[in-house]
Amino acid sequence: MNRPAFAVLLAGLLALPIAAPAPAHAENGKNAAAVAGVLLGLALKSAIEENRRKQDEQRWNSGSDRAFRPADLPGVVCYTRAQECYRNNHYSASATRSVFG
């Protein structure tokens, strides 16, 4: 798990004692447990989604990826980190295979 995702999870866990009311009665205790469960679920969901989004960004980020034009493949642009090639702005399986193996 990367740092921001862990931070989200941690923030959710830290919020639990604040969100749950003091267990003066048994019913309050049950409610607190339910609230805690929902919050933990939401925190986990956010953490997973955040983690996935970060992973996707690491795989594809045209702003930071290095693009290059293979000399022997006219009209083709390839992206180093994504390991994908495009001919005239369209996906090229052949160029991708040729350049990245």
């Binding site: 996935r52 992973q55 996707d56 960004e57 795989r59 594809w60 045209s62 702003g63 990826d65 290095r66 693009a67 290059f68 034009r69 293979p70 000399a71 642009v77 390839c78 992206y79 180093t80 994504a82 390991q83 994908e84 495009y86 001919r87 005239n88 702005n89 369209h90 996906y91 090229s92 399986a93 052949s94 160029a95 991708t96 295979r97 040729s98 350049v99 990245f100 193996g101």
Partner: protein
Amino acid sequence: MTFSPVPRILGFVVLAVPAAAQADVPLSVEIDGSVSAYAESMTEGVFDAQTVLAVKSLTYQKAVAISCAAFVVDDAKFQESFGLVFPPAEVFDALPEDEQMKIQTVGLLTIGTFLGMHLAVAEADKDGFCANAEAERDAPQAGPMIWMAK
């Protein structure tokens, strides 16, 4: 992943596109790159990178046959190719039921994700999409083709 990009990439370093030009990444490339990254992330732990790439290539060819008049898919080759991409029957049948469900569900999602993406890209620029498909058909490194002569 068995890609070994380093040797070829080294030869291309001097031809790298200037960073400023990368601000103008075409929408079709952004869509392909983003959706492919999502598909790779979605299939993690279920399919390896080569399988995902094979599904991308097969669905691309299917989308070309749907979008471009000059192409038609050989159904027998299409089925045979998918049979090679996913686990063979004897392996699949021996898996626990929840594993089978996972492979089927993620497999269908991957096919749908890629096919939808290719069709959307084709719709935005049909002439360019079909011209590229012609070049793909003639390329020496094209890999497994499921198109038949028309």
